[in-house]
Amino acid sequence: MSKIDLNNMDRMYFDILSEIGNIGAGNATTALAQMLNTKVDMKVPKVELLEFSEVGEAMGGEEQLMAGIYQIVEGDITGSIMFLLEEKSAITLISKLMGTPEVDNAFEFGEMEHSALKEIGNIITGSYLSSLSTLTNLKIIASVPAISIDMCGSILSVPAIEFGAVGDKMLLIQTEFSDDVKLTGFFILVPDLESYDKILSSLGM
């Protein structure tokens, strides 16, 4: 029997998962700063355990266009991780990274921009996962990234379905980065229940 029930999550478990989110986001910010070669500030991430029906709303509406970068996680824990970037943030980031003018609509991105976003996602989730791995001493490997630029609700259906197999809520970590402009990104880490247990017991819980 798993120690975790996502619908009745103990406050202490929740705090630990939040703290991992916090450290991970810190590392991700450093990675982002190196990539953009500027100073990047990060707000304290907001961690929420939400009902499925609330998640779209929490991210600015189900129909908002977003870029989602998705990776499968393997090793000592299994599951998936997703990094979502608001359309405006994705456009800004791509323009900065590639030195091109900002496009009007993220749907206009081509192969090159998709690759760049996948790489951004890969670096950010990579730094997040490596902090998790260091903290827990667990081996964590991420697959190559896949991308979707679409309505927030549609992208979210993928981790929601994975969460849905274990509970009626999902854990969302919202991070806000800023240098001269504000970038808003979201992390969704979806370990299966056994992996939750492994993470917590490796932390001495």
């Binding site: 779209g56 129909e63 749907f107 927030c152 509970g167």
Partner: protein
């Protein structure tokens, strides 16, 4: 004045003409619109997973194709729809991400659409139209008055099925 009722993820609702009903951003989930063409009583379910019997945590009946469709039909009949007149239209079940060598794990949308088709078949509710599969998200609007099922996707023309 008619109203647009909103159905969330893992949710289902009744909708009686002249009202309309919508669910936003269907990805790998499937939207099932059911209607009694005579009484114009309709309903929409937004399911996430194919089968409640495969999962221990299954209290949320609107989350699964089997229990969700059964519940939608139940509340429609309770509202006065005739069980033997019900017809359905479905949309969603997309594969949002493509990962090489992981097609099995990524095909949850197809499995959802397949489960919905099978369950509606078993319940003898004909599927009049469908817009499932592919790799993009869909917002749907259903009008029990006419039976029109309107599908909107980013960067594509609006479709009426």
């Amino acid at each position: 004045m008619s109203e647009m009722i909103k159905v969330g993820m893992a949710d289902l609702k009744l909708c009686i003409s002249p009202n309309a009903i919508t669910t936003l951003g269907l990805g790998s989930c499937v939207g099932i619109a059911i209607r009694d063409p005579v009484t114009k009583i309709g309903g929409l379910a937004h399911i996430m997973l194919p089968d409640s019997t495969k999962i221990t945590n299954n209290q949320c009946i609107a989350k699964f194709a089997d229990t969700g469709i059964a519940e939608l039909v139940r509340i429609m009949v309770e509202a006065g729809a005739a069980r033997n007149r019900l017809v359905a239209k479905i949309a969603g079940g997309a594969q949002m991400f493509a990962l090489q060598g992981r097609s099995e794990a990524m095909a949850v949308g197809a499995r959802n659409a397949e489960a919905v088709t099978k369950i509606l078949g078993e319940m003898k509710i004909p599927i009049l139209a469908r817009d499932t599969g592919d790799s993009y998200g869909r917002t749907v609007e259903f009008f029990p008055e006419t039976g029109d099922f309107v599908i909107k996707a980013v960067g594509r023309d609006i479709k009426k099925i």
